[in-house]
């Protein structure tokens, strides 16, 4: 399967990574190369095979449904590029 420039542009947008128009052909070529490499998987007969989930079957642990952590808003915000009045700040989202 080869990726054309329109698909590369769409994937970049889905991944929320800005890619300049002039860089799209190179990106499409790189992605196509990697996908061609993956095509080998089509040779394998996977009928009736369950996807692998863990090394040894493990039941997920349960715990009491109780608050065990939290209450440190300042720490949560301490690394934010823009925090104001106890909130993360972002560009205007709604008009």
């Amino acid at each position: 399967m080869s990726i054309d420039i329109d698909t590369a542009r769409k994937v970049a947008h889905l991944a929320r990574i800005a890619v300049a128009e002039e860089d799209l052909p190179e990106l499409a070529k790189d992605l196509s190369g990697i996908l061609t490499f993956m095509e080998q998987l089509n040779e394998v007969d996977v009928d009736g095979i369950e996807p692998m989930t863990s090394v040894t079957p493990m039941r997920l642990k349960r715990r009491v449904d109780a608050v065990t952590d939290g209450g440190y808003q300042d720490k949560i915000l301490s690394n934010a590029p823009d925090a104001r009045e106890g909130f993360f700040a972002v560009p205007k989202v709604v008009e």
Partner: protein, 492 residues
């Protein structure tokens, strides 16, 4: 002999005997680090923290309360979150990030009295095999045999270079497709990736969550056993962490593997494999046979599909994990133009913050997970993964105790040598190691010899799940038989 060249076990014994102090060990390492700037291994140094921890360790040793790792100076891969200390995953997108919390693995080490010298470079978000994708610039392999500067491998390249150059006694690494074992082999040290779930992933920056596992990178197999024991624990904060007891790995090093069955998988004999690698593998096989093990030819028929399966599963998980870098909660945010909204903020931030290889993998992952392709790529790869694991299960069910393979397809290559190569060519570095991550098994790289240029080569042993002790014992026998004692000559 300077103190920074000691192994963990030698330092532990000297500390307990009162022959040296943690402060002296730490100072020796700090001065070695100061003199090794050209290697570019340590990227965030923490001498004040180190000396405080060393003084505390000395007090503990004096009081007779000294776990094995007490007072041992370590380097920490930049992927581990360390409280109040830059933890950047070698990415510009985490520039300035100082976690408010400590990863479980590093906390376990500090609780045992270990000392943090600083943070070590790596490939950005652990994506790479040469340490050239780091935002700090490449790390240089201390092994230098001509005028070429070589890669220490990746992604734990800073850890490997620092241990090989005696800048620390040992280091933490992480391994998603071979990122502990390949750099260990390239630098002549020992590196073990434990069974998936042995070590908590909490506080380790996530790359591909179903494959990531931390482990020690050390100067000897005994050191790997000691340090791994301290890193392991059941952790309620990681739902995939195994709730099983952690045995005394060092006690498993009996040096006796008589009657054990060693599998030699025919599929690892790749077309075009260099004669030197083939020869090393045969020598390693002979060493284990001489030690009384039985050598058995085995088949792992799905081996050739491991790399393509890995390069679906890992980027898919990465695209999901790296969605959190959005310029809102931590790290870099792009400067916005007039009229830019939140979508432009995401797109510009991620374009500026992620390097080319990370962008490529996030986009591949996005593509294989997108509507219409999920079954064709991602689910198919997960099924192939189940078949790869079944190959190993069948070998172990037939009585195989450990599997011996080469660790890497070559010795360390020159920095920049792969710059023009197709991304897929770089991925081939993981060809012998990636099966182990997909199957969740423990694997260890042991230095066994030098190639004709004088560069180190390693072999890999693969063990049964949860039997790191037995695996380490096999590695211990191989290490003793190989008698690898070469060190890089100091040129830096």
């Amino acid at each position: 002999m300077s103190l920074n060249t000691l192994t963990i076990s030698a330092a532990r014994d000297a500390l307990r005997a009162g022959e040296t102090t943690s402060v002296a060990l730490t100072e020796a390492c700090l001065s070695a680090i100061e003199g090794a700037g050209v290697l570019n291994a340590f990227v965030h140094k923490t001498p004040e923290i180190a000396l405080d921890q060393a003084r505390a360790a000395d007090a503990r040793i004096k009081a007779g309360d000294a776990p094995a790792m007490c007072g041992i100076p370590l380097g920490i891969k930049d992927l581990f979150c360390t409280k109040g200390v830059a933890s950047q995953a070698a990415s510009n997108i985490l520039e300035g990030f100082k976690p408010e919390y400590e990863s479980t693995v590093t906390q376990n080490l500090w609780d045992a009295g270990a000392v943090m010298l600083g943070k070590l470079s790596m490939d950005e978000f652990a994506m790479g095999s040469s340490n050239e994708t780091a935002c700090y610039g490449p790390v240089v392999n201390p092994w230098k045999v001509d005028d070429v500067q070589r890669t220490p491998g990746g992604s734990s390249g800073g850890s490997a270079a620092a241990v090989a150059a005696d800048l620390c006694l040992a280091a933490t690494g992480t391994d998603t497709g071979g990122s502990i074992r390949q750099p260990a082999a390239f630098t002549g040290i020992v590196g073990i990736k434990p069974t998936y779930g042995r070590v908590s992933r909490w506080g380790v920056v996530a790359f591909a969550s179903s494959l990531d596992q931390a482990g020690p990178m050390t100067k000897s197999v005994r050191d790997a056993a000691i340090m791994l024991g301290t890193m392991c624990s059941h952790d309620p904060k990681d739902s995939t962490s195994a709730d099983i007891p952690v045995p005394d790995f060092e006690a498993a090093l009996t040096g006796d593997i008589r009657g054990k069955k060693i599998g030699i998988p025919k599929e690892y004999r790749m077309d075009g494999m260099p004669a030197e690698i083939e020869k090393l593998w045969a020598e390693g096989t002979a060493m284990l046979k001489d030690a009384g093990a039985e050598i058995v030819d085995i088949s792992l028929p799905h081996t050739k599909y491991a790399l393509p399966a890995y390069y679906v599963v890992a980027p898919a998980e990465a695209s999901s994990n790296l969605a959190r870098y959005d310029g809102v909660r931590y790290g870099h945010r792009a400067k916005l133009g007039k009229g830019d909204g939140i979508t432009e903020m995401y797109e510009k931030t991620r374009a500026e913050g992620f390097g080319p290889e990370v962008q490529r993998r996030v986009m591949i992952g996005t593509y294989v997970l997108s509507a219409g392709f999920y079954d064709a790529y991602y689910n198919r790869a997960r099924k192939v993964r189940a078949l790869i694991k079944r190959d190993f299960d069948q070998a172990f069910a037939a009585g195989i105790d450990a599997i011996l393979t080469p660790a890497t397809p070559s010795s360390a290559f020159g920095l920049g040598e792969m710059a023009e190569a197709d991304p897929v060519e770089m991925y081939l570095n993981d060809v012998f190691t990636v099966t182990v991550n997909l199957a969740g098994l423990p694997g260890i790289s042991v230095p066994v010899g030098l190639d004709s240029k004088g560069l180190p080569l390693g072999l890999q042993l693969i063990g049964r799940p949860w039997e790191e002790g037995d695996l380490l014992n096999h590695a211990y026998v191989l290490e003793k038989a190989a008698g690898f004692a070469a060190k890089p000559s100091k040129w830096w």
